[in-house]
């Protein structure tokens, strides 16, 4: 065993990890639990006592999902994104010349736009541009789902229209977050923030 080898994360890597892996994974977990809870919340499946118990879990799960959605976009936009978009390489990206990954003179955005390691500019021009915007629709939809669950309460089990409305908001929140998360993971693989 190499006793000198340590795994370290820089401050930037730690925040990227919190943004993508901790909050993002928590969001996905809360979504899976919430979806299962919502889907089975029907009077024909569950007794009144069961509905009351499931409502508590559903409220907690959807609240956690909404909080995770807001925390993910806020940390992403205000902490991680400035490191991604720093202008370090200069006009024409001479700082990225010969680079195979971003570095001190070549931010991830510079690196992708410079095409210094293959054709990478579309990762920024399409992937990052869509991700940074569409992600913000997710917490709005998650908050709507949260409001509806608290507003209708146990009546959700009997009210099919209300349950469908919550499901649509819930799945919409997941879909927009999934688009952002997928591009985030792929962009981080191509041009990591270090």
């Amino acid at each position: 065993m190499n006793s000198g080898a340590l795994m370290r994360l820089t401050n930037r890597e730690t925040w990227t990890f919190i943004h993508g892996m901790v909050l993002g994974s928590f969001f996905l977990l809360a979504f899976a639990g919430g979806l299962a809870g919502l889907w089975s919340l029907r009077t024909e499946y569950v007794t009144p006592a069961g509905i009351a118990e499931r409502m508590r879990r559903l409220k907690f799960g959807i609240a956690a999902m909404a909080v995770a959605a807001w925390a993910t976009v806020i940390t992403g936009t205000w902490i991680v994104y400035p490191w991604y978009r720093e202008s370090l390489a200069g006009e024409g990206f001479p700082g990225c010349e010969g680079a195979s990954v971003p570095g001190d003179d070549c931010s991830p955005r510079d690196f992708l736009l410079s095409n210094s390691s293959g054709t990478t500019e579309d990762w920024h021009k399409f992937g990052m541009e869509w991700k940074e915007h569409i992600a913000w629709i997710s917490p709005m939809l998650a908050t709507l789902a949260l409001f509806l669950v608290f507003y209708y309460g146990p009546a959700l089990a009997r009210n099919r229209t209300a349950r469908t409305l919550v499901l649509v908001a819930f799945v919409g929140a997941f879909t927009t977050a999934a688009i952002a998360g997928l591009f985030g993971a792929l962009i981080t693989k191509t041009a990591p923030i270090t």
Binding site: V73, W78, H133, I134, T143, Y152, A155
Partner: protein, 118 residues
């Protein structure tokens, strides 16, 4: 004589649809404002510069702050207006779906980059 106790569920009170309509429509407004500002920022350098609330974050700061303000402000206003009313949800759901779709289209790079100013 034995007495049978019936457990009765509390009488259910129909809640107004107004607060639901307000929350739903506000989501559409928030998404639409985000898409609109994204496209306007690309089309106009004046709008782009105005939206740079933070030098580090760039115009994304203004787009997201204003979209979130539009979302919560419209929710608050609509909630105050409709909280005891029963507006028909169908037309509000259709309007919201249209606003969310427009918002997503507005954030889609192929769309908003078509308006890029030189």
């Amino acid at each position: 004589m034995s007495e049978t106790v019936h457990e009765e569920a509390p009488a259910e009170v129909e809640r107004p649809t107004g607060p639901v309509a307000a929350a739903v429509l506000a989501t559409g407004i928030g998404a639409f404002v985000l898409g609109l500002l994204t496209t306007l920022s690309e089309a106009s350098t004046d709008v782009h510069d105005f939206l740079e609330f933070s030098d580090d974050v760039g115009p994304l700061s203004g787009k997201t702050i204003l979209a979130v303000i539009a979302y919560f402000a419209s929710w608050g206003i609509l909630h105050a207006l409709w909280r005891r009313q029963n507006p028909a949800l169908r037309s509000i759901l259709i309007a919201t779906a249209a606003l969310v779709v427009l918002g997503i289209v507005g954030t889609f790079p192929t769309f908003f980059q078509a308006f890029a100013s030189d």
